[in-house]
């Protein structure tokens, strides 16, 4: 087997690595979804439950779909950087470089040169969020419409914000809650905690609302179709013709636009909150003080 064929086989395997997880979770969904004509708007399907301290852990469709999304992103990364060369000779290398350059530019513009190490993190948030939201196009349960998933990301962002605020010193951080007057302390604390909550609720709510509206419209169209076209003989009367068309247009907005938009907004807020949470002057002053103390 020469080098060329081996590279091609690797490419095919990587593409399979991108596609197969979704095929698997789609199959899982098809096999396990209880059939009902009733409209049902509920959370993710629970496949099994692992007993854990504090609270049992139900393993649901969002976990499986997240896993599929992650494997797919992993495959995409490997595919884009496979056969990467100093002199680019493939389109996918250009795509990879475009992604890296764009994310780096975004970080540089919004956070500054100091935060360049955040590029993969922000890209990770964007990729996970966008892929998760777009997985609803395949009829899957989008993991981003599960609050727990988005809350996990928001908690990491909150930890990072707090970490960078604490870099300016513990005392300025605590003092910050009592400004402009000490009476404001409770509001400031609530405001601080509201950041991750609002971030996760915004993202989760947007995606979930899209799912709910899509489900409602699809159900309504099914009923309308039965009502209007029910006189057609046989299978034709049962087939929901009116479901063709309008749901696709709606999904263009709710799944694609809204999903990508929320991914971008989440990443943007992450960058801005972390960058504004970091007080460079206070950090430098603290460093200088520490240096003086050491000397």
């Amino acid at each position: 087997m020469n080098k060329d064929t081996r590279a091609r086989v690797t490419d095919i395997l990587l593409i399979l690595m991108m596609v197969l997880p979704f095929v698997a979770v789609m199959a899982l969904k098809v096999l396990t979804t209880p059939h009902s004509d009733e409209i049902s708007i509920s959370g993710a399907l629970i496949y099994f439950t692992i007993p854990m301290p504090l609270m049992d852990l139900p393993i649901t469709a969002s976990q499986f779909n997240s896993l599929a999304v992650m494997i797919s992103i992993f495959g995409l990364c490997l595919y884009l950087t496979h056969g990467i060369q100093v002199v680019p000779n493939s389109k996918r290398q250009l795509v990879a470089e475009w992604i890296v350059t764009k994310v780096n530019d975004l970080i540089r513009d919004n956070m500054g040169e100091r935060f360049m190490a955040f590029a993969p993190f922000v890209a990770g948030i964007m990729a996970l969020s966008a892929f998760s939201s777009l997985s609803s196009l395949l009829g899957l349960f989008p993991p981003t419409s599960d609050m727990n998933i988005v809350a996990g990301w928001a908690i990491i962002v909150f930890i990072l914000i707090t970490y960078y605020k604490l870099k300016g010193g513990l005392w300025p951080y605590v003092k910050g809650f009592f400004e402009p007057v000490p009476v404001f302390a409770p509001f400031n604390i609530i405001g601080e905690l509201a950041t991750p909550v609002s971030m996760s609720f915004r993202h989760y709510g947007n995606v979930l609302s899209g799912v709910v509206i899509s489900t409602l419209i699809a159900y309504a169209l099914q009923g309308l179709s039965k009502l209007v076209l029910g006189w057609l003989p046989g299978v034709l009367g049962q087939f929901p013709f009116l479901q063709i068309g309008l749901p696709a247009v709606l999904s263009l907005y709710f799944d694609i636009f809204s999903g990508l938009m929320q991914a971008f907004i989440f990443a943007m807020l992450t960058m801005l909150y972390i960058a504004t949470g970091f007080d460079e002057d206070a950090y430098n002053a603290r460093l200088a003080r520490r240096k003086k103390a050491a000397a």
């Binding site: 396990t32 979804t33 209880p34 049902s40 708007i41 509920s42 959370g43 993710a44 399907l45 629970i46 496949y47 854990m52 504090l54 609270m55 852990l57 139900p58 649901t60 969002s62 976990q63 997240s66 896993l67 992650m70 992103i73 992993f74 990364c77 490997l78 884009l80 950087t81 990467i84 060369q85 100093v86 002199v87 290398q93 990879a96 470089e97 992604i99 890296v100 350059t101 590029a119 993969p120 993190f121 890209a123 990770g124 948030i125 990729a127 996970l128 993991p143 599960d146 609050m147 727990n148 998933i149 988005v150 809350a151 996990g152 990301w153 908690i155 990491i156 979930l208």
Partner: protein, 168 residues
Amino acid sequence: MVQSLDIISVNIWQIVISLINLLIIYRILKKFLFKPVQKVMDERQAQVDRIYGDANQSRTQAEQMKQEYEQRLASAREEADGLVRNAVQTAQKRSDQMVSEASAQASRIKQKANEEIAQEKKKMLQDVRSEISDLAVEIASKVVEREISPRDYDGFVDEFIRNVGENN
């Protein structure tokens, strides 16, 4: 029968799983996308810089060589000019020298000739004088019939000759 979660449900362990998932994706993107792409782009940047540096270097080198060449050419031209000038000067000097030498020689020859002529003249005059004096002495002796010593009449003869010369 497969059950579903409630539409709003909070589960700490699911949050933890999602949190870990994000960290894993971060590591994956960092290691498998950003690092190799950044490495390749840096390498390319370095290569481009190197190529530009080489080009600049060879251009400056070429300019330097050109300058050197022009300098050398100019100096060669100058040298040639100098050589020609020198040769001309030498030739001029030599010719001047030769002319002056020739003229000097000519004047020397002339002088010599003049001197010789003068000497010859003098000698001739002397011969004539002595002849005349002899003649005069003879005539005189004949006239006075007595021997006159030539030495006694030298002055007389000289005066006579001078007179003859002036009359002539």
